[in-house]
């Protein structure tokens, strides 16, 4: 089962590698990982998307909590949450495809953030599934390059992950 694990950790050199090292050492998988400092620059917020049974997730959470740099851990997918991922996708946009690309970007509520005579860069934000469905909708031969940020997530309502 897919889980979104949110981690608050000390913004210190090496903290990221402690988390990444834990996942590889114990054979847990990482689908996406994003990390950046929070409004308090001494803290980083990390979001990891992983897959595993409830037992595996329990272990992941416990092992993460054991890391000295980790302040708090929460499995966002346990309750209501918002998840977003950003993707930039560079496509060939010539001839009749140019109009088609514009239309697809509009349908998915993406934005064209760069354009040349033959190329568009589309910016799209949403759940990972939404990003995937744009892939599915586009003619693969026209996709030149893609980059995704990985998932960021936050709990809905008054669920707050803070020190």
């Amino acid at each position: 089962m897919r889980h979104i694990v949110s981690i608050l950790l000390e913004n210190e050199a090496g903290a990221l590698s402690r988390v990444a090292g834990l996942f590889s050492a114990r054979g847990y998988n990482i689908e996406t990982l994003t990390v950046a400092p929070t409004e308090d620059p001494s803290l980083s917020r990390m979001t990891i998307v992983t897959r595993g049974s409830d037992e595996v997730l329990e272990q992941i959470t416990k092992q993460l909590n054991k890391l000295v740099d980790v302040v708090k851990v929460v499995d966002l997918s346990e309750s209501a949450h918002v998840e977003r991922e950003l993707m930039l996708i560079k496509v060939r946009a010539t001839g009749k495809d140019r109009e088609e690309m514009k239309r697809m970007a509009d349908i998915f509520r993406g934005r064209i953030v760069d354009a040349t005579e033959s190329i568009y860069v589309i910016e799209l934000t949403g759940s990972s599934a939404k990003l995937d469905s744009l892939f599915a909708a586009l003619d693969g031969s026209l996709i030149l390059e893609t980059v995704r940020t990985g998932v960021s997530g936050i709990g809905r309502g008054d669920r707050i992950l803070k020190v």
């Binding site: 090496g14 054991k66 000295v68």
Partner: protein, 565 residues
């Protein structure tokens, strides 16, 4: 203002460190110079950095104190990795100070540079790279705090050479607060009550005690609780001494080479009280087979990640063992009335005991088990026993009856060959004058044999019990049993003459080849040669195997007994 090097030493003094085990080198020269100028912290010069860490490790295991090691950068650090990983697997509190190339050189492949924090990260509880001399004292304070609290473990502090040369004001913090590190102490009272309720209802109970009992100095409380309950008790390899082995409630060590009665009791218990133990593969064998029997498990541990890791637990209690056991003792009073069915359970256990699973074959040659039995007798069960890893380790665990905690010093988790001799050194620094036996084999002892020289320098009267069978015994046993007698690389040829070797290092050597010479040799070693290191080379029956045995991947009760063969 004092230098970083002086700060390091002042911190160690503040922490009341008596001994630092180490080896000098380029990047720690300032620290060694600061060491030279004082007398409070004594430095023990080993012959290889691995031994420094092992000795610091055993210093800690055999006392309640923190072991401290000091090594130089690069190879000094890489040589410590085995020692650090060994301590990490067995949760031993230790602080390892490592030199590093000057900060400006880091990342430039400088001479004797390695990524210490990166290399040691997976085998430490935590590690630090000090980048500012102003952070040095607080970092060392944190290292001692982290090493000794919660589930203990080794902490590495990597100190670049320029930091040890810079100056700043010294103030050692009295306490340290870390928002990201707050280990639990008290157990949840509701959970403790639930656990006690289960103990009251138990018909076929078992107390299963592990290394956590020893590490947290909870042996006395555990023993008191077990006696009030009147339940059978088993100890893991790491838990030997947590409950007295000569007590009638003790059913022996459990696991791969546990007694028949311990494994049968574990498998068939309806309630297990697990205390500071972690249901590892060497203890319960195949977890699916173990899971076939219905039972309730109460698990007390300081580390939440040890709970429900391999076996689903019904009543988890996270907390410091002495605190949790205190709470339990309030609920389990001296007049505790167990279920009447407990009598039948003891009867059943008595039948299992009747198998006498530790009996071994008789031989014209010296049987290794016999040597350990006699060692126990000659030392009146009072010795500290260190061991290496292999058959001799299991024989020592099975036949030396440990009645006290912190007397059995071995590498249980990582299974590190070579620890025995440096462990014995560490024990003697923590317990000067105590009888210390290092039970080893001709394979293991050669992995750190250079420490015979350290033992000479510091006059450490270790009694080395070398169970010499000419084979890497445990490998040979598996090859005999599971590889159709194909003894691939397990026969050791060109062994040194250990008697001459011991003498060359300035010690006493003995070679014992006949069973009738075992006791006189041991007696001589522990009386006449009380103050000498004695290397006793026992030439033992090379066909002796360790039984009972649960083969890897088999169920806990699928034991092979000596009588089956």
């Amino acid at each position: 203002m004092i230098s970083g090097a002086e700060i390091v030493i002042r911190c160690l003094q503040e922490e009341k460190v008596e001994y630092v085990f180490g080896y000098p080198g380029g990047s720690v020269l300032h620290i060694y110079d600061a060491l030279f100028k004082q007398e409070q912290v004594q430095h023990i010069l080993v012959r290889h950095e691995q031994a420094a860490v092992h000795a610091a490790d055993a210093y800690s295991r055999s006392s309640q104190k923190v072991g401290v090691a000091l090594v130089t950068s690069g190879p000094g650090v890489t040589n410590t990795v085995t020692g650090i990983a060994t301590a990490y697997m067995d949760s031993v509190p230790m602080v390892v100070l490592t030199g590093q190339v000057p900060t400006a050189y880091i990342g430039q492949d400088a001479f004797q540079e390695c990524d210490t924090v990166g290399i040691t990260r997976p085998c430490v509880k935590h590690n630090f790279l000090v980048k500012d001399v102003k952070d040095l004292a607080i970092t060392i304070k944190k290292a001692f705090h982290i090493a000794t609290t919660g589930r203990p473990g080794p902490v590495v502090v990597d100190i670049p050479k320029d930091i040890t040369a810079q100056h700043c004001e010294f103030e050692y913090p009295k306490t340290v607060q870390m928002r990201s590190y707050n280990p639990v102490v008290k157990g949840h009272l509701g959970q403790i009550k639930k656990g006690v309720q289960l103990l009251q209802e138990a018909k076929r109970p078992l107390v299963y005690a592990g290394g956590g009992v020893i590490l947290s100095d909870a042996a006395e409380k555990l023993t008191e609780l077990a006696r009030r309950l009147g339940f059978p008790v088993t100890n893991t390899l790491m838990g030997l001494g947590a409950y007295p082995a000569t007590d009638k409630q003790f059913v022996g060590m459990l696991g791969m080479h546990g007694t028949y009665e311990a494994n049968m009791t574990m498998q068939h218990a309806d309630v297990i009280l697990a205390v500071g133990a972690r249901f590892d593969d060497r203890v319960i064998g195949n977890p699916d087979h173990f899971g076939e029997e219905p039972r309730k498990i109460i698990h007390i541990d300081i580390d939440p990640s040890s709970i429900s890791k391999r076996v689903k637990v019904d009543v988890p209690i996270v907390g410091n063992l002495p605190d949790v056991l205190d709470e339990m003792l309030k609920l389990v009073e001296p007049g505790f009335k167990a279920q009447p069915a407990l009598a039948d359970w003891w009867k059943q256990i008595g039948e299992w005991r009747g198998r006498d699973s530790l009996k071994y074959k008789q031989s014209e040659l010296i049987m290794p088990q016999y040597v350990i039995e006699k060692l126990w007798e000659v030392t009146a069960g009072e010795a500290f026993v260190t061991s290496d890893v292999g058959q001799h380790q299991m024989f020592a665990a099975q036949y030396y009856k440990f009645d006290q905690p912190r007397r059995w010093i071995n590498s249980g988790g990582l299974g590190t060959m070579g620890v025995g001799l440096p462990y014995a050194m560490g024990v003697l620094f923590a317990n000067p004058g105590a009888p210390v036996a290092c039970v080893t084999g001709e394979g293991s002892i050669q992995m750190c044999i250079q420490e015979m020289s350290t033992a000479r320098q510091y006059n450490l009267p270790i009694k080395i019990i070398n169970l010499n069978n000419g084979y890497l015994g445990m490998v040979r046993q598996w090859q005999e049993m599971f590889y159709n007698n194909r003894y691939s690389q397990s026969y050791v040829t060109s062994l040194p003459d250990f008697v001459k070797l011991a003498e060359a290092y300035g010690h006493v050597g003995m070679r014992i080849e006949k069973p009738e010479d075992v006791v006189p040799a041991l007696q001589k070693a522990f009386t006449e040669h009380k103050n000498d290191l004695v290397f006793m080379d026992f030439i033992v029956d090379p066909t002796a195997n360790v039984f009972p045995m649960v083969a890897a991947g088999k169920g806990l009760t699928e034991m092979i007994l000596a009588e089956d063969l």
